[in-house]
Symmetry: C2
Subunit: 451 residues, 2 copies
């Protein structure tokens, strides 16, 4: 009998089927570095047909398999389980079609997020979802995790930009969902598939919406004495009817880490919090909006409002925000980027409690978050080689999630459930809810329902 590996090699070619221990090492985990597990093999298919055949072979052999994009996910969505086959889609990286008239693009799952925006720029269009990892992460992974980003506030998450999908199901059959027109009849299963984290199928093609590039952008960096006043400003801006493209807050500890790193952006180290507010739209309208945001920020207690004068200054503001995670790399070998959502109005109170939890466990905890969405990212810097630290990190994380849920929040904003939150999903769903979800999952698994 032909071995599983031989069958996989026959499908993707020997050079696209990794089985040596040194080759498998990087596939032990994704952006969540806890609990690495080495897979049995990694295959790198080049087409839907190859993905389907790989899945069929694994399915027949009773071998579990895990789809993987760029491996930038933060919740362990691409973590292998013992003995599994990783199906890595990075070689399926072609933009198959761009239709400026219909403002859509058809892409393979391995297309890098930022690459798509670059490719359609000449048409005056961009792909709106912008995870912080957008220079590396791929559309297939974004679809699986329903990725968001700093501009989610105005543009929504991945699900708002996916019109149709081609997916390979658990038995290797190929399913198409949705329609490029956005008007597919029947149940809207594209929505259910986006964010399903690989539990329904493997994305092999996506038809996505492209968005006209706004005529103009204004970026403000606002200094506050503390995080409470920064949150008050965010509440005031939303209440005023403005729709900013982004409202991001960095707390005191994050500012210190950023300024001590290569991402230093000239933030005042004595600041209690920094708010980055971005406005986009017609140039003539932005001046009044900038004035409005400035006034609301001052009213909330801002000590300084800087408006970027040019693209270079704007990039510098964002460097502080986007470099925050990198900056924390200096503090400790490991970083646990948490992800939870709370009602916007309760942000100040929850942030205080999150910091208190970090302190109580003796951990280095800082916050950088999508304030406009109420989407928190408490970041814990630690060293996983120290078992006592690891234990405290996990205990503090659990307490943070419980605190957010008790405040009317949910356990993940944009990172997904993955292996990370598997044990916490019970905080928001009862047994009946989970049973209903499993029935939906089974509806997509022809092996279970048809046998």
């Amino acid at each position: 009998m032909t071995s599983l590996f031989e069958r996989l090699r026959a499908i993707v070619g020997a050079e696209a089927c990794l089985t040596r221990s040194d080759e498998l090492f990087v596939y032990e985990c994704d952006g969540l570095t806890l609990d690495p597990v080495r897979p049995s093999a990694v295959v790198l298919p080049r087409s839907t047909e190859e993905v389907a055949r790989v899945v069929r072979v694994c399915s027949e052999a009773g071998r579990s398999f895990v789809p993987r994009g760029a491996g930038t996910g933060l919740s362990g969505g691409a973590h292998p389980v013992e003995g599994s086959i990783v199906i890595e889609c990075s070689r399926m990286n072609r933009i198959l079609e761009v239709c400026p008239e219909d403002r859509i693009a058809v892409v393979q799952p391995g297309v890098v997020n930022a690459e798509l925006s670059r490719a359609v720029r000449t048409h005056g269009l961009f792909y709106a979802p912008d995870p912080s990892s957008q220079q590396a992460c791929t559309i297939g992974g974004n679809v699986a995790e329903n990725s968001g980003g700093p501009h989610t506030l105005k543009y929504g998450t991945t699900t708002n930009h996916v019109l149709a999908l081609e997916m390979v199901l658990a038995d290797g059959s190929v399913m198409r969902l949705g329609d490029a027109s956005g008007f597919a009849p029947g149940y809207d299963l594209v929505g259910a598939a986006v964010g399903s984290e690989g539990t329904i199928g493997i994305v092999t093609e996506a038809t996505v919406r492209l968005t006209p590039i706004p005529e103009s952008v204004e970026t403000l960096l606002v200094i506050f004495p503390d995080v409470v006043s920064a949150c008050t400003a965010v509440g005031g801006i939303i209440r005023s009817g403005l729709v900013p493209a982004a409202l991001e807050i960095l707390d005191r500890r994050t500012i210190a880490a950023v300024e001590a790193s290569v991402y230093a952006a000239g933030l005042p180290r004595e600041a209690g919090a920094v708010l980055i507010a971005e406005l986009d739209g017609p140039a003539c309208a932005l001046r009044a909006q900038v004035d409005r945001v400035t006034a609301l920020a001052r009213e909330a207690g801002a000590s300084e409002v800087r408006v970027a004068h040019d693209e270079a200054e704007r990039a510098q503001f964002w460097k502080a925000r986007k470099g925050a995670f990198g900056a924390m790399g200096r503090l400790a070998p490991d970083l646990y980027v948490h992800d939870a959502v709370v009602p916007r109005a309760r942000l100040p109170e929850i942030l205080a409690r999150v910091c208190e939890i970090g302190d109580r466990y003796g951990l280095m905890l800082s916050n950088v978050f999508h304030a406009g969405d109420g989407n928190l990212h408490p970041n814990i810097s630690f060293d996983r080689r120290d078992p006592s630290q690891l234990e405290r990190v996990m205990a503090a994380g659990a307490e943070i999630l419980e605190t957010c849920v008790a405040a009317g929040g949910v356990v993940t904003g944009e990172h997904g459930v993955g292996t990370e939150k598997r044990d916490f999903i019970g905080l928001v769903f009862g047994e009946a809810d989970l049973a209903a979800m499993l029935r939906v999952r089974d509806a997509f698994d022809p092996r279970k329902t048809f046998e």
Copy 2:
């Protein structure tokens, strides 16, 4: 043994349980007047609890039931079947909560669409989905049908504005889907429930997104010699990167019908087509956009561009559009409003074929459509008392749908499948697709899965 009617009366009260033939008459059909069927009874519950108890009683008695909102649907989504119980939700018409800070409202299903926008206007907010029937139709029905409207082009359909739902399932159990934050973990089943046309459950509460009222609106009425040049203008406007709030076209026959009616708006009767283009956003930016649309329209062959000078003139332009269906009431006792979507670029060609089909069957067919979305509404005026006419109406309708699907389109844009398109769903879905959808439906039916 207590009779079914007695049990229903015990739940909702005698005055909210209609069983007399004269009372049941208006519930024989909805906005689709073909194939009326009288139900056994109509109940008008006032709470989720009452809906759940009614469903439980019907379910135990093996009696089918049909939820109904205002009955304005055009695809027969609220049509009773023989012997069924209609569950009419119009008495559940309270706005339970408005939170301007989070831009959300929690409403019961019987709240009238336009009523919600009126109620939140003082906060500078509105509820964006605007079906033409918005003065009468209810949010519950909008959710069931995923209703769109003229402003779908910019604001999306109902599904883009629903964050969470409470539904009563087929066994009378109550399920909650989604989260007011828009960040619910797990499968996005709100999306699957919106537009599921009552096949999954009965909406008893909806948490919806509210949108800031745009600062300013400009409305243009553009006259074209023919429908092809009007469609060319629409293509040019979309390609230019503009995002109009609405792009609506009325064809020659619709113009004639409107001008002969009380909805007369001073449209030139010799015009081949009229385009209504609406732009909204910051006041200072709209002047340039109006100029751009004007230039693109002239380039495509427009003979005249009128820009509304005030709210009164704007209302007059829209009167022509929104009164089009009413105007056709003068032409014949019945009106069949068709609904299909084609790729925008193929609009001119498909419209010519649709008109040819109408002519060939000797029918009075006119077109008024959401051109920006490629969403056609071929309208056939007829008299259903004449069996030959009815037969031709149905045959022409089938041919129109087949033509749209052959052009890469789909069988419904915003009206839903209902009883109307039940037999045409096979044009876009294969048996495997339909089987998959039934499995999803079963996932929501605890009676099937748990027994």
